[in-house]
Structures are given as structure tokens and as C-alpha cells.
Amino acid sequence: MQRKLTPIFILAIVIMAALLYLAFRSKRGVLFPLLAAMISVIWGLGLLGILGFNLDPMASIIPFLILGIGVSHSVQIMKRYYEESSRMDSARDVCIKVISVLAVPALTSIITDAFAFATIITVKIRMLQSLAIIGSLSLLSIVFNVLVFIPCCLSFFPLPKKTNLESSKPNGILTKIAVLSTERKGAWGLLVSFTILVIVGIIGTSMMQIGGRAPGAGAFYHDADYAVQTRAIGEKFPGAITYYLVFEGREKNAIKDYRIQRKIEDLQKYLKKNPKVGGSLSLCDFMKRMNVVISLCR
């Protein structure tokens, strides 16, 4: 699985790099966001190794998440860097300005990210808990990589040419949205459309399924080898996948009572009607056979 994951990860980086280049049209605009994000990813994976957790299918999503979040914050820094470069002349001043202006939003959002991720710890499933620890720690490392590492690197470079600031030209759609949202009618219009979206969301939420995956089986596509084989075995040889219904009597011999046994048999018959149930086995089945044998022998 990991062999298949690595190319996916590389492909993701290539796509991001291409889009970053389209946005900034400069080498540093591609390099620094990816570098900063990758450092956090590597720290996260290193932590995984040091703490002795496995890179299970669950943990394998951490790199992608960190990459995505790291890139988002880096882009904000880079964008601001280009903006300020058009106004100032010293690389040092630009970097100081960028850090001071973006410190509040960057810190706020990264800390909330990390805390939000850390709360998964309260779901008492160990696989998720280790994920929460690693994820939140690597998220916190983004603070350093984005707010300190990138400006530090940038301060070594000469400022970009002012003619190269393609990205600071006003954008037609964004301006339209801005104008729309600062006019009474437009603002209400946007709010109403979001409200409609929320209502549709509520309808969807009510349809949401909670859980249900068996370990392994559901993690695969319906036509994956494992899934197909499990189904075939379950279909042909009922007994491979069992589900237990336990009957507990408070009194000695309570479940030996023939009325209880009859109820258990009724429940078995009832469950048999479910097309997904291949069969069932209980004490009643044995008792019936035993009774037949004993009666015949008499």
C-alpha cells in the first residue's frame, strides 16, 4: 500500500507546485511554501517513528493534511511578501512587516487547528488518539516553519522586481464580490444563499450514516479482492462472519426454561428472514436434536 501511496504523494506535490507557479509566477513562490510544508510533514513522520506509532492507513493521511495546511499558511506569507515588496525597498523591512502583520491570524488559526485536532483524543479509540497527538504536534510546528523559517529565508534574497508583481493586480470577480458584500442588498443576498446552503446541509446531515465499517472489509472498494472474497465466503459458508446475541439469566437454569428456548428459536426464525443472514445456531438447535435422539432410543 505504501508503494502505491508514495507516487500519489509526489503527484500531489507536483500539482500543487504547478498551481503555485501559476499564482506567483516565481521560483520562490513555489519553493518556499512547499519547503515549509514539507519540513512539517517530515517532522510529523519523524515524531511518528520516535513515538513508535505505525504508519497505518489512518496515519498515512497525516502527511497530506499537514501539506495542505502548511501550504495554505505559506501562501498567505508569500502573498503578503510580494505585496509589501512593492511598497518597501529593504528585504529586512519587508520580512519584519510580514511577520508583524500576519502573526495574529497565523497564530490564531494554527493554534485552533492544533487544538481542534487534539480533541480527537477524547474519542477513546487508540488509533485515533495517536493520530491526534502526532497531528496536533506537527500542526504546531507549522507556526515555526511559516512564521519564522520562510521570512528568514526570504530576507536573504533580493526583493523581487516590481514589474513582476502580477499577483497584486485587482481581480474582477473578487472585486465584484467585495462590492456586492458591502451593499445592503448584496450582503443580504449572500447571507441568504449561505442560509439556504446550511438548510440543505442540515437535510444532508440527517441522512449521515454513523459508522458501520467492519475492520478491513469496508475500507476497501466494493470490488476490491478482499471485499469480493469475504462476501463470497460469507455467502457460501455461513459461519465465517458471526454475530453473537447473548442471553443472560439471573437465576440458575433460567435459560433452560423451554419458554425462553422457544423465544430464542422464534428470534432465530425472525432473523433468518433477513436476506443478509445466512443462518444461526443456538442451544435450541442442539436441544431439538438431542430430544430426537433420546426419544428414538427409548
Binding site: 500519489i8 485536532f117 449521515m208 458471526t242
Partner: protein, 652 residues
């Protein structure tokens, strides 16, 4: 074949938490730390547990859910957990059709008395699974006030009433078979009770009676302990407390006690029937609350129950018992003159006392002549009679007999002829698996009524978990409960962080609004696609809630900044600027990350594809909210933290 699959270690190396395992174990009423010996088989030696193994064709979510649903449906519709039937007497020995009242889970016994002294009969029902006694105060005319429950020990079985603290109010004593103690509930004037005080007795106490054994006019208690094979006498001190129990050995598995003066010396004696012991043991009162055992009555059969009463009005105690497997009750009359040598038959042949005392032939011995009682006469009733009571149902002055039949689900009324014989039984239908009954007069018309406790199937509880599928069920339950608290926690953290960093509650509130919008839309999309909320998608959903506010914060702070820089403080100008700078960066990011993460669609694992699309969706919604939701909210609310003039943006 019926070995437990696993309780300590789930299969497939599934790293479920200790808490999840505890839940699974709790489903099965086990606790982790190894499988206790008696649970190593699904069917244990005393047939307390059994199971159905349901064989599923696949392990898809829907399959497990549908089996669970079917089972719950069946149990809800077919697994009656017990109730109480009332039969109103017409005064001529016949009864109206039963009226049923809901009881707790596994009702086991009932007594009636006037607890609140309003001259109407009230009812106390013992609920075995709920570990409580419910009190129903009668309002006359078959109506009861809503029940009040009083906690007692574990798995209470029987109860008796008396005035233990000499205040003239009715008190209750309950035997708790699960916790090996008796609970004393002291009554108050209004029919309510003080909290239970427990006194230890033997193991698995069962039938309990109260009377004055030592002649000090204070109520004492006698209880049989089925597992420790003993009879415990708790002598009352008259203030509601009891001295340490005195124990008397019994035969194996004593079940019922009948009290009365059997030998005619004026003191209350006790008779104990056994399930395995095959005899009725007499404990003769020596005064001072001590007893000696003598004159056993051999029956050579398991005994269902034992009660005593005076049927022929000769002042001598008579006795009713029932043999297991026979649809009849045996009534034996007390002898007018106590005495005579006991004679016993072994395998149908009469033997002398020396011979049967020494022989180990207990189960074959039958008492032929007994010093206290005449030979028993059998009367036909329903199948497996469980208990009997006496009362004058037809008001002819003679005691009649009512027997509850567990298998035929009815009660048999045997009207007394006054000479110790009875007319043949008339039956009345009651509820499912009736177990106990008591005489009463709820309607207050002087015509005796009967209250019957129907156990139903309450004695057996169904647990729907176990097996591989059960583990999945437990995880899902954990997720379900974790989800709501997770969202609450994250919202709280986001709110606190933002309020602190933005120094504005309104600002934090705006961020929270955008957060909830996205949570709902994200879950909505998950519902529509559908992507189920599982172990795999939960962290992403949580993460999504967290990262969802990133861009929003950037945009908010940029609007604040631009507004401060703007010369004529124009919100529109500031918004245009903010969206064209920070907003544009958000737009780039969304493009880069969404398309980058979308490559997960190529993953060979289904859940990774789901995860990839979820992250993409969350980031997209985040960007959308930042660009199109923040500005209108800011414009409409005009929060102070953005509109205050001369913000020093370098002050951090």
C-alpha cells in the same frame, strides 16, 4: 464450540481502546482482565448464559445495522419483561378478568398493605433487574398513583412487611439474592420510605418472613439462603435495627419458609422447603429466638414452594406444598394431637427409625407418618404451581386456596369446604410466567382481590453484541458519543482562541458562525454522497472544523487592517482591498490544495479516496466562507473590533 471468541484481545490487531473493550465486556456483563472461568463457555454449568450465533453473509455496515434492528424489534415486541395482574374478586369466589399494571424489569414478588394509612391497599413490587422496590399507592377503584422506586441491594427477590421500628407504620424487608443481604425500608406516614439500610445475611437469600420469634413483641426476620444452605434469624431491636444474624444449617438449596406453631407449644416455629434437599425441615422455637431442628418430613422430590395456613379452623397449622413436575398441590392437615413416632418408607417399604436415619438413601425416603401432620391430599391445579395463598374468597367463613401456575399462565382457585378438603380448581388467566401472588382488597369492598406478579421473560436479558461484528458496533457507539462532545470542544476552543487573539467576543462569534456553517455543510455533503462517519473519517471531520476557520481569520484581520489604513474609513474600499490581497491568496491556496489533495481519488483504498475528497471539500468551503461570507457579515453587523479607528496593527 461455544468458546467466547475473544474478550481480552480483539482479532485482526484492531487497536480498540481499553474503554471500548470495557464496553464490549459490559455488554456481556463481563469485565476485562481475562475471561473469568465461569464465562469461558457460552453455556456455563448452571445454564445461566446462552447465545445465538448469527451467521452474516458480509460485514457491511448495513448488514450489521439491519440485524441489530431486527433483534431490537423482536425483543421490543416479543420479550415481555413482566407486569402485575390484578384480579378483582366478586365476593362469591369468582373473579373479574385481569387488569395489568406495568412493573419494572423482572418483577419477582409483591405484597400489599396500607402504607399511607388512607384505608386503601397499596402495593410494593420487587424488580429483580432494576434493583429496586416500586411502591404503588392505591387510590381505590383499581387505580394507583404513579410508582415511586426505592433502591435496594442487587437482584432483590422477596419481601415482607412488618413494623420494625415500633412506630405503627408499615416497614419493608427485602432479600437481595445478588448482594447477599437484606434491605430494611422504614415507612413514613405518607407512604414514602426512608433509604434502605442493608444487613448482611447468607449467600443468595431468597424467601423472607417476619414474626416475633423471641417473644419480646418486636418484629424479627427469618430468611433462607439458597447458596449457603442456611436459615438466618435476624432479631429486631425494635428501633428498626437488627442484631447480628444467627445461622442454622439447612439441606441443599432451601427455598421457602412457612411459619406457624407446628408443635402446639404456642411459639412460632419455622418450616423450610428445599429444592435439592427433598424434605421439609422443621425448626422448633426454643424461645429466646433460638431454634432446634427436628422431625424432618421426607418428600423425595424437589419442592416448588411451601406455605402454611389453618384451613379447617381447628387452631392447628395446615400446610401446602407442591412437587416439581406435578401439576398439583399437596395439602396436609395439622394433627389434633401432636405426637407419635415418625415412620418412613424407603422404596415403598416401611422401615424403622434407626434404619433410615443411618442410610444414605435420602431421595428415596418418603414420610409415611409424621408427628405434626396427617397424610397429604393432592389437588389438581395448572402446570408448575409456584406459590399459594389463602383467603376467604367466597365469604363462607372457610379459608380458600389460590395457586399461581407458572407454565399455564393462570391461577387456580380452590374453594375450601371447611373440613380441610377443597372443591376442584377453577382457573383464571393472568400474564406471562406468573410467579407470585398475594391476597388483598384494592377496591375496599370487603371482597378479597388477588395481585399476581408475572415475571415474563424478564429473568433473561438479551445483550446485542459480541463477535467480530460486535467490536465494530462498540467502536461505532464510541464514535457516536464522541462526535457531539468533539464538536462542542472544538467550538469552545475556537471561540476562546479567537476571542483572545481578536480581543473581541463579536469577532469570535463571527468566526463561530462560519465554523458552524461549514460543519453543517460538510456533514450534509457526507450525508448526501454518502460518506459514513467512521473511525477513518472522524479525525478529518474534526480537523476540518478546526482548519475551517483559518482563511476566515486571515480575511477578517485584513479587513480590519485595511479599514484602519483607509483615509475616509470606507468599508467598501477596505473590503475590495482585503479580498484582492488576502482573498486572492485564499483563492490560490484553495486551488492548489484542493487539486493537490484530489489525487487521493487515485488511491487503491476506498477510505483514502473518501478522506481526500473530504479534505478537498472542507478546504473549498473554508475558502468560500472566507471570500463570500465574512465581508457581508462584517458589513451588516459592523463589529466594533473592526470599525474602531486608529488600530495600531503593529501592536501585537
Amino acid at each position: 464450540m461455544w468458546l467466547f471468541p475473544y474478550v481480552g484481545n480483539p482479532p485482526h490487531g484492531l487497536p480498540t481502546s481499553k474503554e471500548t473493550r470495557r464496553r464490549i465486556a459490559e455488554y456481556l456483563n463481563l469485565y476485562t482482565g481475562g475471561v473469568p472461568e465461569e464465562f469461558s463457555f457460552i453455556i456455563d454449568y448452571d445454564y445461566r448464559l446462552t447465545n445465538i450465533q448469527v451467521f452474516l453473509k458480509d460485514m457491511e455496515a448495513d448488514t450489521i445495522r439491519s440485524v441489530l434492528k431486527d433483534t431490537k424489534e423482536f425483543i421490543a415486541n416479543n420479550w415481555e419483561t413482566g407486569d402485575v395482574s390484578l384480579l378483582m374478586g366478586k365476593g362469591d369466589g369468582t373473579f373479574e378478568k385481569q387488569i395489568t399494571y406495568k412493573a419494572g424489569e423482572w418483577p419477582r414478588s409483591v405484597i400489599t398493605s396500607d402504607f399511607n394509612e388512607d384505608n386503601r391497599q397499596d402495593m410494593a413490587v420487587v424488580n429483580g433487574w432494576n434493583n429496586n422496590v416500586s411502591i404503588l399507592l392505591g387510590e381505590g377503584d383499581e387505580a394507583f398513583q404513579s410508582e415511586v422506586e426505592y433502591k435496594v441491594g442487587k437482584n432483590p427477590s422477596f419481601l415482607c412487611s412488618s413494623d420494625f421500628n415500633s412506630d405503627g407504620k408499615c416497614d419493608l424487608a427485602v432479600s437481595n439474592s445478588g448482594s447477599g443481604d437484606i434491605s430494611i425500608l422504614l415507612g413514613r406516614e405518607d407512604g414514602s420510605f426512608e433509604a434502605a439500610v442493608n444487613y448482611p445475611t447468607g449467600e443468595k437469600p431468597r424467601f423472607i418472613v417476619s414474626s416475633d420469634f423471641n417473644g419480646d413483641h418486636k418484629s424479627d426476620i427469618a430468611v433462607v439462603n439458597e447458596r449457603s444452605n442456611s436459615l438466618s434469624i435476624h432479631l429486631g431491636k425494635g428501633d428498626g435495627t437488627f442484631s447480628e444474624a444467627k445461622e442454622y444449617e439447612t439441606e441443599e438449596q432451601p427455598r421457602f419458609i412457612a411459619s406457624g406453631d407446628f408443635n402446639g407449644d404456642g411459639k412460632i416455629d419455622l418450616a423450610v422447603s428445599h429444592w435439592v434437599g427433598y424434605l421439609i425441615a422443621f425448626y422448633i422455637n426454643e424461645g429466646e429466638g433460638s431454634f432446634r431442628r427436628e422431625e424432618d418430613y421426607w418428600i423425595a422430590c424437589n419442592l416448588n414452594f411451601l406455605t402454611s395456613s389453618d384451613f379447617n379452623g381447628d387452631g392447628r397449622m395446615d400446610m401446602v406444598f407442591s412437587k416439581y413436575g406435578e401439576s398439583s398441590v399437596s395439602v396436609m392437615m395439622g394433627k389434633k394431637e401432636v405426637g407419635g413416632e415418625a415412620r418412613v418408607k424407603v422404596l415403598g417399604e416401611e422401615v424403622g427409625e434407626e434404619e433410615f436415619r443411618g442410610a444414605e438413601l435420602e431421595w428415596m425416603q418418603v414420610t409415611e407418618v409424621h408427628p405434626f401432620f396427617e397424610k397429604p391430599i393432592d389437588y389438581k391445579v395448572g402446570m408448575e404451581p409456584r406459590y399459594s395463598i389463602t383467603s376467604d374468597f367466597n365469604k363462607d367463613g372457610w379459608q380458600d386456596l389460590a395457586v399461581v401456575n407458572n407454565i399455564t399462565n393462570d391461577i387456580s382457585i380452590l374453594l375450601g369446604n371447611g373440613d380441610g378438603t377443597f372443591q376442584s380448581a377453577v382457573t383464571y388467566e393472568v400474564g406471562n410466567s406468573p410467579n407470585f401472588l398475594c391476597p388483598t382488597d384494592f377496591s375496599g369492598d370487603g371482597k378479597p382481590d388477588i395481585a399476581v406478579v408475572n415475571e415474563g421473560y424478564g429473568a433473561v436479558k438479551v445483550h446485542v453484541a459480541g463477535g467480530l461484528a460486535g467490536v465494530v458496533g462498540a467502536i461505532n457507539e464510541e464514535l457516536r458519543s464522541g462526535m457531539v462532545s468533539n464538536i462542542t470542544q472544538i467550538s469552545l476552543i475556537v471561540f476562546l482562541c479567537c476571542a483572545l487573539m481578536l480581543r473581541s467576543l463579536v469577532g469570535a462569534f463571527i468566526v463561530l458562525v462560519s465554523l458552524f456553517t461549514r460543519v453543517i455543510v460538510t456533514y450534509g455533503v457526507m450525508g448526501f454522497i454518502p460518506i459514513p462517519l467512521t473511525m477513518y473519517t472522524t479525525p478529518i471531520a474534526s480537523m476540518g472544523i478546526g482548519i475551517g476557520v483559518d482563511y476566515v481569520i486571515y480575511v477578517l484581520i485584513r479587513i480590519q487592517e485595511e479599514l484602519a489604513l483607509s483615509k475616509n474609513h470606507d468599508i467598501q474600499e477596505a473590503t475590495i482591498k482585503a479580498l484582492n490581497t488576502t482573498g486572492k491568496a485564499v483563492f490560490y491556496t484553495v486551488m492548489a490544495v484542493v487539486l493537490g489533495v484530489m489525487v487521493f481519488v487515485l488511491s487503491p483504498l476506498k477510505f483514502q479516496m473518501e478522506l481526500g475528497s473530504m479534505i478537498a471539500l472542507i478546504i473549498f468551503l473554508n475558502g468560500l466562507g472566507a471570500i463570500a461570507l465574512m465581508a457581508p457579515i462584517v458589513y451588516l453587523i459592523k463589529p466594533k473590533f473592526i470599525f474602531k479607528k486608529n488600530v495600531d496593527i503593529n501592536k501585537i
